[in-house]
Symmetry: C2
Subunit: 364 residues, 2 copies
C-alpha cells in the first residue's frame, strides 16, 4: 500500500518546502498546524476539525471519519489519522511515533485548554510556540492563488453590476445585501468573504455598519463593501453610489478619497514599506483637511481570509514583496452625514503593481 | 456622570446573577468572558473584538472605538474601556483597578499567546481556568430566548416553503442553497445559522456535504439541512424531498428514520439523560437493521450557535432540564445511494416537550 508522492511542481510541494525551510531555520523537526486555512494552504486538505503535522519527511492529517473521503481526494500524499474523539491522544501518539523532538505551533491558534493537555503528555517531545510562520508565508501568493483571487473579484464585480442595475428607491439595505449575496452565489461563489456592508446615508459613516431596514432614497449616498469567495480565495471591494445626485459635502469628500486611492495604488511596488503606502493616502487626506476623519488603516493583505498579512497601516512593519495581494481602501467619515470609502485589490508585481479589480470607481 | 443601573427583571440582570452565583461557588471575584456569544448572552453587548470582565459589582466591557456606540446602546449599565491596541494592557489594568484576586476564564477561549502575556503581567491577580461555566448556563434558555428561536424557525420554515414551490428539475444544489439563503434574508434573517447543506442523490449520504453543481432531477432524493438566524438566535432543521417518486430503498429508510425521529421527540422530558433520548432513536434504527448507517449523535443544543450544550449523543453526560432547546436529527446514510435525515427543534418543558418546528415531515 504505497502512498502517492506529491509531484515536485505542485503548489503544495513548493509550500511544504518553504515551510520546511522555516522549520530548519528554527531547529524544529515538526510543525503542528491547527488552523483550517493554514492547513489548506500547506496541504490542500479542507477538512474542518483537523490538524496537520508537518515533518521533514511526512504530512500527517489528524481528522475524523467525516472528512476521510475529502482527505483522500485533496491530499492523497498525506498519512491520515482518523480520531474518534476530540482529545489530543492521537496527536501525542503521532508526535511520538514520528520521533520528533522539537515541534512548533502557533500560540495564536492553540487554546490554553489544548496546551494544558498536550504539554503534560508530550514529553520527551518539546512544544515550541512560533509566531507567524505560516502567516508570513501565506502573504506571498503563487500564480494559482492570484488566479483564484481574480476569479473572486470577477464574480463580485459581475454581481455588483447586476445589483446596481436593479437598484430602485425603497429597497432596504438588507434586501440589497441579500440580492448581492444571491447574485454572487449564482455566479459560482462559495459564499461571501464577509457579510457585506450596505449602508444608506449616515450609516455609511460607520466603517463596520450592519445592513438594516433603512431604505434607499434619491440623493443619498449608498456604500457597499462586499466580497465573493471562489475556491476558498476572497475578494474585497468597496464602492459608493447614489440615485439622483450625491450630497455636495460628500461629493467633495468623494473627490478627495478618490485621489488618495489613486495615489496610494500608484505607490505600490516591491520593496516599499507598507506604512509608506498608507502615508501617501493619509498625507493627501490630511492636507485636504480630513485627517481625523480617516480613522483606520489604508488596507490589508487578502487571500484565504479577508484580513491577512501584510498589514497596510501606520503601525505596519511589513515590506511589500512581489506576489502580495493587498487592499487599498482610504475613507473619510462624517458622523451623522455619511462616509466615502473606495476599495480595490492590488497585486504587488516584480516591477510595480497590477490593479486586479476593474470596476468603475464612479458610476453617476 | 452616573451609569444607569440594570433593571432587576432584565434578562441580563438574571443572567449576571446566575454567573455571579457560579463565581461565588468557585471562589472567584472576577470572570473574564472572551467569546462573543458568551459576552452577548451575559451583557447584551454584541461588539466584536471585545471582552467582558464580570465582577460582583460591575460589568466592564473591553472593546475599541468602532463599537463605542453599540456598547452605549446595548449595555448602558456597563463601564466601557476603549482599547487602542489589541494588547492585554487594558485588561491587566482593569483586573488590578478592580482589585481582583481570583479571576476565572474559559481555557477553551483563551489562546496560548494571550495567556502567556496575561500570566506574566497579572500578578498579584490570579487567573483560574474554569471550564464550561457560561456554556452550561447558556444551555437553559429563558422565555425571550425561546421566542427568538421560534422566530428563527418560522423564518426558516417560510423560506423553505417558498423554495419548495419554486423547485424544478435542472436547478443546481448551489442555486437552491442560494435561493434559500436569499428568501430567509428577505424574511428578516440576519443570515444563516450555518451554510445550508443541499444535496441531490448520493451527496445526501454525506452528513457534511457542501452544495455543488449537481442538478435536481426527478425520482432522486433532495436533502436540505438549513437554519436562519434571527436576533442572534438560530434554527436548525432538515428535510428530504423528491420530485416524482422516492427511490424504493430510500423510502424504506425514510419510514424508519421518521419513526425513530417521532419516538425520540416523544421521549424528551426534564430529568431524562440526553443519552437515553439518543438511545430511543438508535435502538429503533438498530432493530431495523441500519445501526451502522446512523453514524452520528442524535442531536445537540441550539441557541446562539448551531451546536451548543447539551450534547445529545451516546457519550453525553447531560441531563435534560426545562428550558433547554435541542435538535432531534436521526439519519441513515447509504454510501453511493443517498441518505435520509429528519431534524426538528424541541424545547424541554416543565412536564415534557414542545415541538418548536411545525413543518410537515413528508411532502410528497
Amino acid at each position: 500500500m504505497s502512498r502517492p508522492e506529491i509531484a515536485p511542481g505542485e503548489p503544495y510541494s513548493l509550500r511544504l518546502n518553504k515551510l520546511r525551510e522555516e522549520m530548519t531555520r528554527r531547529k524544529l523537526d515538526g510543525y503542528l498546524i491547527q488552523q483550517r486555512m493554514d492547513q489548506y494552504w500547506a496541504t490542500g486538505f479542507t477538512g474542518e476539525d483537523g490538524a496537520a503535522l508537518i515533518t521533514h519527511r511526512a504530512v500527517v492529517l489528524l481528522t475524523d471519519g467525516r472528512f476521510d473521503q475529502a482527505a483522500n481526494i485533496e491530499a492523497p500524499y498525506a498519512r491520515k489519522v482518523l480520531r474518534k474523539k476530540r482529545t489530543p491522544d492521537e496527536t501525542i501518539r503521532e508526535l511520538k511515533r514520528c520521533r520528533l523532538r522539537r515541534v512548533g505551533f502557533n500560540p495564536d491558534h492553540m487554546t490554553v485548554a489544548e496546551y494544558g493537555v498536550l504539554k503534560k503528555l508530550a514529553p520527551p517531545v518539546r512544544l515550541v510556540p512560533v509566531e507567524n510562520m505560516v502567516t508570513a508565508l501565506r502573504a506571498v501568493k503563487d500564480a494559482g492563488e492570484v488566479e483564484r483571487i481574480r476569479q473572486a473579484i470577477r464574480v463580485a464585480e459581475r454581481a455588483f453590476e447586476k445589483v446596481r442595475q436593479w437598484l430602485r428607491p425603497g429597497l432596504t439595505e438588507r434586501e440589497i445585501a441579500a440580492q448581492l449575496a444571491y447574485e454572487m452565489q449564482k455566479l459560482g461563489a462559495q459564499g461571501e468573504t464577509f457579510p457585506a456592508i450596505v449602508a444608506v446615508g449616515p450609516g455609511s459613516a460607520l466603517p463596520h455598519y450592519e445592513p438594516g431596514d433603512r431604505k434607499l432614497v434619491e440623493n443619498e449616498i449608498l456604500l457597499v463593501d462586499w466580497g465573493a469567495r471562489v475556491s476558498w480565495y476572497g475578494s474585497d471591494l468597496t464602492r459608493v453610489l447614489w440615485l439622483g445626485s450625491i450630497p455636495p459635502r460628500l461629493k467633495e469628500v468623494f473627490d478627495i478619497v478618490r485621489e488618495a486611492h489613486d495615489r496610494a495604488i500608484k505607490a505600490v511596488r516591491p520593496g516599499i514599506k507598507a506604512k509608506a503606502v498608507d502615508q501617501v493616502a493619509r498625507d493627501f487626506i490630511q492636507r485636504a483637511g480630513y485627517g481625523k476623519e480617516f480613522n483606520h488603516g489604508l488596507g490589508h493583505g487578502l487571500g484565504l481570509v479577508a484580513h491577512e498579512s501584510p498589514r497596510v497601516s501606520r503601525v505596519s512593519r511589513d515590506v511589500l514583496q512581489p506576489g502580495m495581494v493587498i487592499t487599498i481602501e482610504p475613507g473619510i467619515y462624517l458622523p451623522g452625514v455619511g462616509g466615502v470609502r473606495l476599495e480595490d485589490d492590488v497585486l504587488v508585481t516584480e516591477t510595480g503593481y497590477e490593479l486586479l479589480s476593474s470596476l468603475l470607481v464612479q458610476f453617476s
